[in-house]
Symmetry: C2
Subunit: 164 residues, 2 copies
């Protein structure tokens, strides 16, 4: 699921094109550059990552345009924004991708994606009980992975000691 097939990218661009046309907004090369950049990776990138990646490829964009375009891409559901307890927001491509939640290792910051169908039932029940129309949810689980290359492995008690 890291690189998307060309026909999917075509669909994504078509969605964006239609969205802009409907709203009487311009189809600028900068906007499509941001769209392509965020769809080029499965990473959960922040706005500055995108800006730097675009610059490195020689694309001429400003941070303001990156933020502006991300806003548009969120409005047409091609991108979702996450807050993983950091200062900056992270963005992720959303088209033709499974609905998932996130598991974050607080030692190595590695991110894992998971899906549990019970979430859908919980969402429906909450909507029912509180008389809400629920659009979306954000579920993040925070903990420590047990992998060898994680700073917490095998039992890095030093981390806690060093912190005090």
């Amino acid at each position: 699921m890291s690189t998307l097939p060309q026909h999917t990218l075509d669909e994504v661009e078509e969605v964006f094109r239609t969205f802009l046309k409907e709203r009487g907004q311009r189809q600028t090369p900068e906007r499509f550059a941001v769209l392509e950049e965020i769809y080029a990776t499965p990473d959960h990138v922040d706005a500055d990552d995108l800006y730097i990646r675009l610059k490195q490829e020689g694309t001429r964009v400003s941070r303001a345009t990156v933020y502006n375009t991300l806003e548009l891409l969120m409005k047409c559901d091609l991108v979702v924004r996450h807050q993983f307890g950091e200062s900056q927001a992270r963005y992720e491509r959303a088209y033709s991708y499974w609905q998932h939640d996130h598991l974050i290792c607080m030692d190595c910051n590695e991110l894992f994606e998971f899906c549990d169908p019970r979430l859908q039932s919980v969402q429906e029940m909450v909507a029912e009980i509180y008389d809400f129309e629920i659009d979306c949810h954000s579920l993040n689980m925070y903990g420590r992975c047990q992998r060898e290359n994680c700073p917490n492995w095998p039992e890095a008690e030093e981390a806690e000691a060093a912190e005090a």
Copy 2:
């Protein structure tokens, strides 16, 4: 659940006192003022709310101390931090309070708390599958409440029209 009984407040202060003593950190009046202030309300306040409330009561604290103390209170699990998709973090008292998640109305920003036992099962299953030690989770559901005093009621389509 808005005002806590005195004996609970005593317990909370005792927890903080013990925590500070164990770490060789000082018990300053400013730190206890912040603790009391956040326990005085069930609200999900931001750091500046606390700073302003303390100032209004005539307590002499600085923003830096508010942030510093919140950090300590999170370390001893007396306070939890939330990110509800806004720019600033919000803080909530955590001692002797039920484990809950949040439902947010995107029209009026009203916040509701709910609890579903299935979340615990989901958390345990994810921990098992990914070989993680999971400490906590954060689940926010975003939607629109259907209350009369909400700007979205009864079907404020104007909001969407005005935005375009």
